[in-house]
Amino acid sequence: MQEQSLPETQGAASRTKPDRIDPERWLAAIVESSDDAIIGEDLDGIITSWNAGAQRIFGYAPEEVIGKAVTCLVWPGDENQIEELLTRIRTGKRVDHFQVVRRHKDGSKVLVSLSLSPIVDADGRVIGIAKIARDITGHVAMEDSLTATTNQVRLLTEREANAQAQVLAERRFRELIENAPDGILQVDRHGKIIIANRTAELLFGYASEELVGASVDMLVPAKYRAGHAANRVGFAHGGVSRPMGQGLDLYARRKDGTEFPVEISLSPVTTAGEVHVTAVVRDVTERKRTEVQVRTLQESYMAELEARQKEAERLNHMKSEFMAGITHELRTPLHTIIGFSDLLREELEGPLNEPQRTFVGHIRQDSEHLLGLINDVLDYSRIEAGGLHLHTERLSLGEAIADAAGAIRQHAEAKGIGLRFENPAEVFVLADPMRLRQILYNLLSNAVKFTASGGDVDILVGDDAEFARITVSDTGTGIPRDELSRIFDKFYQVGYSVGGAGLGLSICKQLVEIQGGSIAVDSEPGKGSQFHFTLKKAV
């Protein structure tokens, strides 16, 4: 038997073993019990031996294949392989673990791993082939299943990754909510808290597990609870989002019972068909405190401002009172000085001689001047303090001018100055009679004062739709150009002072302006001045 040639090749090694069992039988048993196909072939590829493993792998019984060409095992089309392998073995070379598809007796594919070794005789000549074929179809199947598993694992991994990403996203979202600067609560339609973030825990002083599942009412001060429940029911039935800062004065209650001011925004959230309400709660204690501080500051500032204003008014009033008192005190003795000089001039107590008459005249005139100064100062201080009250009436301008001119006429004539007043048409103005007289008298007395003997003082009247325009013109010394702009300043005296406190024109300007008019001056030194002022016409 060819089978026995195999043990022969190993015979030397086997015989060295101190064994009572016949080495050939021993080898034959090993070959028979092998799972692998162990096939003997001659150099032409004719099968010479066939073990049980071969039968199992390829389906043929030994008697079916021994003596037949090995090509019966070849997958159609792979016949050339056999020749190549045979050629290789004939030259004494081995083939190890050559994977190749072979054909099962039933026509199915069998994937085997082939190892071919040349069988040599005692002289070293190749006389046959020992072929071991290991069925690796199962391996491949396993590999396939491994690939499938790998794919599955990859799929699972992807799913896992997705899931992880989702978890991560959820965690981030959760963190976002947890760390939001405002307390966030989600409440179901029964008022049960479903979600509460960390800020809400800190805000209300409850642990998360105390909040979740509890009624939101415990966070509402007792006095607001009834209203709160009603509002919640209302909100659940078609509530719309309510942003913060609705001007509502809301309060929340901490675990320890203390209350704090809050702003709450509400938004309905539909989860699995159920309407929940998400409430964002902001503690506005600090803001309220700041608001109160700002308000307090503002109030104290306003109070101080008011106090200062009152103080300023009081001081102004005091100044006015003081000025009134001063002028009263100054006018009282002037009253008797003027009165007695008048009595002397009347000579009812006996005649005066010429020098006495002159002396009394000087006393009288200077007293009059002093009185004018006192009145100017009083008027100015009152205008400045805003304490001048006007009694505006509808006046005949012609009459007012005639009146003022009458008061100055004697003085003008005594100085040899012509005083002329043309009154072409009757014009009515809206003015305070006393103040208008004061303006006219002031301008006329200035004109007379600064005009030399032989000169003229003229009063002219014109009007337009709205205003009457009065001009007092003189042929006096005039006012230098550079001084014209300052002529209405208080305490300003043009050049050589003839008398007066320098307040006359300043008072005139103020009196004209508070009656709604304006005043201006034209002047040419050496030729004279023209003072123009306007007054509102009466209808």
């Binding site: 009282t332 009253h335 008797t336």
Partner: protein, 131 residues
């Protein structure tokens, strides 16, 4: 005018002696009998005691001011129509309402020319006589 004021009793009240002297001279020349008071209290007493035809009251006086004297006198039936003139060196415009309220007939501002004073007195005595 001289005839109308002749023999009329006029009470003057002023804390300034020179002012009283001036008024007295003017009024006496005018043929009037002059009674003098140095303050409001004195004026009130003297007035109720002597029943003058006209009064000239300074507004700023010690003890009792001119306003008080006038309003006290106006409460008395005897002084219902008696001319009471105010005489003051103080500013007048803003006090018009207060003067009317106190019951003054006229306000005279110091200094006053003797002629003006005479004319005013004559006019008021005339009105009082007719009334």
């Amino acid at each position: 005018m001289e005839q109308k004021s002749q023999g009329n009793k006029i009470l003057i009240a002023d804390d300034s002696e020179s002012s009283r002297d001036l008024l007295r001279f003017i009024l006496q020349r005018f043929g009037c009998e002059v009674l003098e008071a140095r303050d409001g209290q004195e004026a009130l007493k003297l007035a109720t005691f002597s029943n003058p035809d006209l009064l000239i009251l300074d507004l700023n006086m010690p003890v009792l001011d001119g306003y008080s004297v006038a309003s006290e006198l106006r409460k008395l039936p005897a002084f219902a129509t008696t001319p009471i003139l105010a005489l003051s060196a103080g500013p007048s415009e803003t006090d018009v309402e207060r003067l009317k309220e106190a019951g003054f007939s006229l306000f005279l501002k110091k200094p006053i020319a003797p002629a003006t004073l005479r004319a005013c007195i004559a006019q008021h005595l005339d009105v009082a006589a007719k009334g």
